[in-house]
């Protein structure tokens, strides 16, 4: 469904993303992992139209969308959430979600109905009239998710939707995300919470310092020495292997 | 029906040069006013709409010192500059900082409200009649051939350059100056190393007003004072700051001179009335095509 080929983005002398390639098959959940500052959110920004790539192309459902504007990308069915949540603070929860619903629904009352329905999907049905600015971080993350859902996406880009949540909240969100996938939405997610990555995603890409360093089934990818080094530092892979060898012996 | 006269009048190069030179002198005042504005923006990230009104207030102060005490306007700097600093400090600490909640547009509105209060209070206390200061030397000067430069104009140029230099010395060599630059660059970081940011904000605002007070002193011998004069200067000051680059001292100087020259040339070629539109036009063009100005940091 989504094909990203040889994407690069430079900011002055800094190469934020170099020659990145990934693909997301329809109906699957794919994760994008890597240490902080690796370029994950930049990649999302490139895919969703907030940044223009210097090189490479982005194909969504066979269409080249590199250079498209964010709202056009959204109207195609590719929607992103933000790592640092951006609620419409002075609007209520239902008004927030309704903005997403309005992408396809023209009538206000219909949009509000849809908003209530979507709120139920993420467990916010009791909070419809609360101002978004008063929500906790978990609530805001769920609101962000609900808003994106209301736009009837085909592909959802979730940027660290679990960050800042406690274990219970993570369990809940994981179920919600699985439910979204089951309803036919394809998902590409950035995540640091490894248990979520392992339990949710069918496939993983690892990015470090702007470059793709590994890809594969999550279980394999987390054993990849390059990936371990990226997260834990130089030589870490060998040390871990040595430790495991000693404990086996 | 006669529309524009698109044939620009042709002048001798001497006339044009003379116009440009008077633009330089005018521009030096603009630069000084803009200096305070750009400092305030650079540190507090607020656009001080009351800047013009404060200039007007300072000019009245200079005028009344002259009228009441017979004090020479240039000498009056000794009083109005510290006075301006204190007033600015209290204004920021007591009113602007409190009311704005740190939001950009709100601060703009608060300073707008302040400018209205100051202007109308001036109207109330001083009435709308223009006041002029006459000093014995205000018509003396020397002849440059292309134009005649009066001493007040020269004083304005000299004063502006000297004050800019002193300010630069202050910012680079004193502890407070360095603290100000730290806060301008990285507010949170400055707080973390123990700098009292609210105090620095107020000091910066105070310095901005002090610059305006100095400019007032330099302006009074050549400009009549009336309550509306602040409004006239506000747009010019903003244009200079935006052209020169928000937060840049050099920008304020260069911008001031450029605007002064453009305004005089505009007046020369388009007439008194239409000439002042050059300022609005420059402002609009800069905002659209190079909002960071000549010396400011480019956006994004």
């Amino acid at each position: 469904m989504l094909e990203v080929r040889n994407i690069s983005k430079r900011f002055g002398g800094l190469r934020a993303v170099s020659n990145a390639t990934l693909s997301v098959p329809e109906g699957k959940i794919v994760s994008l992992i890597g240490p902080n500052g690796a370029g994950k959110t930049t990649l999302f920004a490139l895919i969703s139209g907030f940044l223009k790539p210097n090189e490479g192309e982005i194909n969504f459902q066979g269409r080249d969308i590199s250079g498209w504007q964010p709202h056009q990308v959204c109207q195609l069915g590719l929607v992103r959430t933000f790592q640092i949540v951006r609620p419409f603070a002075n609007l209520t929860v239902s008004e927030n979600i309704a903005v997403g619903a309005h992408t396809w629904i023209a009538k206000r009352s219909q949009a509000m109905e849809k908003a209530a329905q979507i709120a139920g999907l993420v467990g916010m049905q009791e909070m419809l009239d609360q101002p978004a600015g008063a929500l906790t971080i978990a609530g805001r993350k769920r609101l962000e998710l609900a808003r994106a859902l209301a736009t009837e996406p085909k592909l959802l880009l979730l940027d660290e939707v679990m960050a800042g949540l406690n274990t219970t909240e993570i369990h809940e969100i994981v179920e919600v995300v699985q439910g979204i996938r089951d309803s036919g939405v394809t998902i590409l997610l950035i995540e640091h919470v490894m248990q979520a990555v392992m339990s949710l995603s069918d496939y993983s890409y690892v990015i470090n310092q702007g470059e793709m360093i590994a890809e594969g089934v999550p279980r394999e990818v987390t054993r990849d020495p390059n990936v371990i080094e990226a997260y834990l530092g130089h030589g870490a892979a060998q040390r871990i292997a040595a430790m495991e060898a000693r404990s086996d012996a | 029906m006669e529309f524009f006269d698109f044939n620009l009048p042709s002048y001798s190069w001497q006339t044009v040069l003379g116009s440009a030179i008077s633009g330089v002198f005018l521009g030096s005042i603009y630069a000084l006013v803009a200096l305070g504005l750009t400092l305030i923006y650079g540190v507090l990230h607020i656009i001080n709409f009351a800047h013009g009104a404060l200039l007007m207030l300072a000019m009245y102060a200079v005028f009344y010192l002259w009228q009441g005490l017979g004090m020479d306007p240039y000498l009056a700097m000794v009083i109005v500059v510290p006075g301006g600093f204190i007033f600015g400090y209290l204004l920021q600490r007591g009113v602007i900082g409190k009311a704005s909640h740190g939001r950009d547009e709100i601060t703009l509105l608060v300073t707008l409200g302040l400018s209205i209060i100051i202007e109308n209070a001036a109207l109330f206390f001083f009435s709308a009649t223009e006041r002029s200061v006459r000093v014995p030397y205000d018509l003396d000067g020397f002849d440059l051939g292309v134009t005649f430069v009066v001493y007040p104009e020269l004083a304005a140029l000299g004063g502006s350059l000297v004050i800019t230099f002193l300010l630069w010395l202050f910012m680079t060599n004193t502890d407070t100056g360095k603290a100000i630059r730290a806060v301008a660059k990285q507010r949170q970081g400055a707080r973390l190393v123990g700098i009292n940011v609210e105090h620095i904000f107020a000091v910066s605002f105070g310095i901005g007003v002090a610059c305006v007070a100095a400019a007032a002193s330099l302006l009074v011998p050549t400009y009549p004072v009336h309550p509306q004069i602040g409004y006239l200067f506000v747009l010019i000051a903003f244009t200079v700051v935006v052209l020169g680059g928000m937060g840049s001292f050099v920008g304020a100087l260069v911008g001031g001179f450029l605007i002064g020259i453009f305004e005089q040339l505009g007046r020369l070629y388009m007439g008194e009335s239409l000439g002042v539109i050059t300022i609005s036009v420059i402002f609009i063009l800069v905002l659209l095509f190079r909002p960071s100005g000549l010396f400011g940091k480019p956006a994004g």
Binding site: Q69, G100, A106, A148 | I47, G113, F283, L287, P291
Partner: protein
């Protein structure tokens, strides 16, 4: 307060204003109401762009002045009927808004930069109006002929010489109908999909983009609606006073008047500008009496008063008078429903 409650309140207010002439006969009070409603319309124009759209303009006089000048000049130069010129005045102003909006929004100007560029445009128009003598009559201003034939009062859209009812209440009902229409438009906007998208842009422009909103187009529509409303106030002004000149049309006074009422009354609410206008003019009149009593009648004193209220509202009452009333209503409701 829910949408139904708001609509009810609004209808009640409008009904009260409609029947006011039955109770008020003093010319002075009618003048007061005309002024209050005029500022309420002017303020609603600003409110649409700033309160709902989050784009604070400091040069809103540019829309008032263009509406006024077009209304005046088309009558003055070509003798057209005021009922015809008003359409040109409003659409001409919308054209200007499109130009200003396109330049500002295409180049991504926001916040203070947007405020300043609108100020620059207002100043530019001010200078043009003053300088392009042959087109705008320059500093002389445009003086329309006073119609003295009562039979032509409605045709000429002037009520100074007409039947007794029109003479007393003609202009009042003119501005009232303008108020009704513009406030209805605003209400329809606020409760439509466009309204939801506009406030989304105000709250967080990037998030709005990510949700499929073409923020440029939304802002353009907002500035055009704003210009439409503001220019209608300009049309009214010309018909009532039969005179316009550059300072009145494009000077800072109208730009400031346009923002006082909505901020004090409640930004981003429909009734805010009306509340704010009543407060400013009502309380202002009262306060002025007191001040005049103590210090004599001096110009500008009332502006000081309003500006102080502005700063206090900005500091302590972010939702304005409307927010205050809403809070009181909630407290009352909780007390009696608990």
């Amino acid at each position: 307060m829910n949408s139904r409650g708001q609509l009810l309140g609004l209808c009640v207010l409008m009904a009260m204003l409609a029947i006011v002439p039955l109770f008020v006969t003093s010319g002075r009070w009618i003048e007061f109401l005309e002024l209050t409603l005029f500022v309420a319309v002017l303020g609603q124009g600003w409110n649409v762009l700033a309160g709902y759209g989050g784009q604070y303009s400091f040069g809103h006089a540019v829309f008032f002045g263009t509406g006024a000048y077009l209304q005046a000049l088309l009558q003055f130069k070509f003798g057209w009927s005021p009922w015809v010129t008003l359409w040109f005045a409003m659409s001409g102003t919308m054209l200007v808004a499109t130009g200003i909006g396109y330049l500002s929004f295409r180049y991504g100007l926001r916040g203070s930069y947007f405020a300043l560029i609108t100020l620059a445009f207002a100043e530019a128009f001010h200078v043009l109006a003053r300088s392009l003598d042959s087109i705008t009559e320059g500093g002389r201003g445009v003086q329309l002929n006073l119609n003295q034939d009562p039979a032509r009062a409605i045709a000429e859209f002037q009520f100074n010489f007409s039947g007794p009812f029109l003479k007393a209440y003609g202009f009042y009902y003119t501005i009232f109908i303008i108020l009704l229409v513009t406030y209805t438009l605003t209400w329809l906007m606020a409760n439509s999909r466009f309204g939801a998208q506009l406030v989304a842009v105000r709250e967080n422009e990037e998030a709005a983009m990510a949700l499929g909103i073409d923020t440029f187009r939304v802002k353009m529509k907002a500035i055009c609606l704003s210009a439409l409303i503001t220019s209608s106030a300009g049309v009214y002004y010309v018909q009532k006073f039969l005179f316009i000149e550059p300072g009145i049309a494009y000077g800072p006074a109208k730009s400031v008047e346009a923002l006082f009422a909505p901020i004090i009354g409640g930004l981003g609410t429909i009734v805010g500008p009306l509340l704010g206008s009543f407060f400013i003019h009502g309380v202002g009149e009262g306060a002025k009496e007191v001040i005049v009593h103590f210090v004599g009648d001096r110009p500008g004193v009332d502006l000081i008063f309003f500006a102080i209220i502005l700063i206090l509202v900005l500091a302590y009452l972010p939702r304005g008078l409307y927010g205050l009333l809403e809070m009181l209503w909630m407290r009352l409701r909780d007390k009696y429903h608990a």
